[in-house]
Amino acid sequence: MSLWKDFSSGIIKENPVLRLMIGLCPTIATTTSAINALGMSAATAFVLIGSNLLVSIVRKIVPDEIRIPIFILIIASLVTVTDYVMYAFMPALHKSLGVFIPLIVANCIILGRSEAFAYKNPVLNSVLDGVGMSIGFTLSLTTIGIIREILGSGSVFGISFINSSFMATAMVLTPGAFMTVGFVMALLNRFEKRAQ
């Protein structure tokens, strides 16, 4: 059934971060802890699903030549809303994510899905595609966040079990991010080859 396919392809087979290699900026920068990763994925999910929905609704009225500026406007407005809602209701998360919330606008996943999918498909399919991609994004981000948090600060979801001075602080900085993503991708390669 096409609806199920639109939904499920975003989770593993066309996982945006680990397979399509888009949306890497937040992966590297915001996975310093599992909670940050979850927060970022939630914000991105809201913007992705919202923009897929809106673009799909207006796709018949928008002329082809100016579609990219229109997409950008829709996405930017959604991001501004998300930014200020997080500022009001989750100030700690907003502070730790910092400049990366406005940077969701430049996230390749959202513009890419609007252009490649939502502009050409009916509303329900687009929303499901958005949900699937968000789940895939959340899974990959949270996995990397958990690994980095355990190895870097000795805690998981904020619950500390080893004193952080014993752990490798580089894991919560950029080198750890690159290393983790590289190894997770290699692991995924191994399992995919095995399944073939």
Binding site: M21, G23, L73, T80, V99, P102, L173, T174, M179, A186
Partner: protein
Amino acid sequence: MELLGIFFAAVLINNILLIRSVGMCSFFGVTTKIDMAIGMSFAVLFVVTVASAICWFFFRYLLVPFDLVFLKTVVFILVIASLVQLEELYLRKMIPSLYRSMGIYLPLITTNCAVLAVPLFIIDYKYDFIQAIIYSVGVCGGYTLSMVLLAYIRERTAISPIPRWFQGYPIAFVTAALMALAFLGFSGLFGL
């Protein structure tokens, strides 16, 4: 003197790609060949410097006086998208040789996080105009440095015997991790 500090901080200590981790998609997408990396870096230099200058003006003289600071994301991205389009038109007509070598990267830059991040950082740091310009040039210098370094290494690893599961992107990520570790050593340089 302080301007020099801002410049070196942008290039080495807070390298936009390796320490601030902004602009990742282009970092791994365009570094498979050295000429592509250099072309992309030139295009980024072209766009970021002009874009941050214009965004600075819009912020200071439009958004702040009218109390519209919450519109900064929308306004900045509109400015950047229009600017890239304008630059592409101008380059195509006036400097065709430059257009041929780096024109194809210009549309890629519209969604490059680095271009949107620089004006946002400038606002965070509360720089004045001259500092903002020096900062953006420094960011582009740091961008070029990391891109070219990674491109050189990736061209070498492409013909080296890499373990099967790591071939392609995973080894590029591990390389970037080691580079980032090296760049972390710059923190504290010049007392910054």
